[in-house]
Symmetry: C2
Amino acid sequence: MNKKMVEVGSEGSPIRNAHNAALAEEEQLDTGRVYDLTLGNPSIPCPVEVTEALKKLINEVDPIELHSYTHWCGDLRARHAVAQYLNDTYQAGVSMEYVYMSVGAAASITISLHALVEEGEEVLVFTPYFSEYVPWVEKAGAVFKEVPTNKDFLPDEKLLRERITKNTRVLLMNSPNNPTGAFYDEEVIKMISKVLLEKSKEYGQPIYLLSDEPYRELLYDGEEYPFITRFYPYSVVCYSFSKSLSLPGERVGYIVIGDNNPEKEELFKAITGAGRALGFICVNSLFQKMLPLVISKTSDLSIYKKNRDFLVENLRRIGYQIVEPKGAFYIFLKALEEDAAKFAYRARDYHLYLVPSDHFGVKGYVRLAYCLDEDTIHQSISAFEELYESYQ
Amino acid sequence: MNKKMVEVGSEGSPIRNAHNAALAEEEQLDTGRVYDLTLGNPSIPCPVEVTEALKKLINEVDPIELHSYTHWCGDLRARHAVAQYLNDTYQAGVSMEYVYMSVGAAASITISLHALVEEGEEVLVFTPYFSEYVPWVEKAGAVFKEVPTNKDFLPDEKLLRERITKNTRVLLMNSPNNPTGAFYDEEVIKMISKVLLEKSKEYGQPIYLLSDEPYRELLYDGEEYPFITRFYPYSVVCYSFSKSLSLPGERVGYIVIGDNNPEKEELFKAITGAGRALGFICVNSLFQKMLPLVISKTSDLSIYKKNRDFLVENLRRIGYQIVEPKGAFYIFLKALEEDAAKFAYRARDYHLYLVPSDHFGVKGYVRLAYCLDEDTIHQSISAFEELYESYQ
């Protein structure tokens, strides 16, 4: 048996573990007063167009065709729709030939990592980061290397530059960020691109920018999303429709590389090769066929902004320290004691379930996922108040 | 970039490559006289109950619940339905706790391999074998080792025994077999179990039997399927609903281990660990929720038997050498010249698209996939006749 896989399976995802604890209390209590702020599971329904498209396909398309294997890089119409949408929306400069459909962001990232790195090369990740990056990077045979960010959880030029070595092959970034909600605007992306270009030149081979973008549409203050292929040619974009269409369980996403990538042909072969070798045959056909019918839609994301505004205002009022998140649906809250795990554990006394930050690569914080209905969010404030008071 | 992944992506699947050649001729010709016998894509619709279940779920279930993440080992009701079905049908002796839902047989096999083997250990595979086993085994860091079969493509006790070493960790088998249609009955399974038990004892650690079973229901002569957990405790069953429910593009399957497996707890952790590390989050939620409603159904598989009977009779009449397949939807035909690739290429002159056997681990054969409508199968016979005559 593979010892490392036993270990990865035994520890489980820290997010899932906290969520399971919340579920266990919910089963015991009948009061409905459990505030499960652990899971990034959208709390709003998919757009009605998604439901209509699914019905239409099931009613009208021959079932043999509807449920058959698609091309292993994805259904041609889905790939076309993705490329067209990205070009129309972000002037991304991409072609359908270099769109690879994948079963969500996780698969997009693992496939890209296996395609990009050789055993022992380094993958850099800004802290704090999504906890699952660690097993994904390590399974690809790469060395996971942290790059600290500034006090607003934003990349810092000097710190980034210092961490890059001749073995660095990939910088994996995530904006809007899980777990902090930080957003990397055009200025940040230009800084990152400049550093990577310089360092690629210095070491004589490209350092790839791998961008994990499931929260791309979840931006609350009118910012424009700087699509990275426009700024840096050695870019790989990993996307999932989990959050924008509220379809996390359906596992639909893609990998795309820009037309300006000088290695695009070889890289795309490596991506299809990695997808093949890892056992990803194709993405579920029904949902791929749905995509062209709904590609420009999103769920009604306004509740997330309302929840953010409410929580930022009220948590600060209580006395908690937070950096206002610009996107995604997380708040990274400074714990009221040094040990974040202890703080998260104490929060359970008030029926609050939070994820301690240790597994996100920093100490002393907890992550709140505010993708919940407004009532639950509003009611949770008294629990946060009691928790705060217990420390005074 | 990862050189090995570029290579795996460049060669592509030999089956897909032959299929693409058929598509290219179909696009050029307007005659409809292209016989594409390359792809194992079911030619019959899913059971009507599948369509009804999908409609019911979309119409009646809250979309947030319907499309949400399921438990990372699978939706509890789907896992329960699988275990119950296997116990009722095969007296499998399995529990839902050890059912892991996966996106089809490919993912089931790669996850199981990554869970079972350490770098450099050996995975044994009977020849001929499904070509994709090679990249899957190699990506898991294992050594791919062939075990020849007898003239009927059935396992041979002496040959199996000879190939097992102290480094052998897994025997990967596939019955009914792709590409030969061979079926391993109870006697064969008992022989394999006996050899593996003896060798496990000799080397002081279990050799696992990994069984790839997407064709389990496609058996044409009334045989009973010997479910391997009943015969050998160190078994892992990999299944997909692709063929039995004609849903190849929807990617729904599972891994299951028997209650009699002394290592089941640790192994299941390794399976969940491998699934996590490889980026498989969960199986598409809609189709998991559909499963309990249709678990005992199959498509109308009778056409495959008709096609088999027709082809066996007529290909033999023409003069071709074949071993009658007992299951699946493939015939493994002796090529009329030494070089199977040349033979398959020559067949294209008669608009016949076949997959040469070299990538299945043996020389001198081609694989015919007869999961096509009856008319196409009937019409193809004249092309097979012309091809045969061209060699006389």
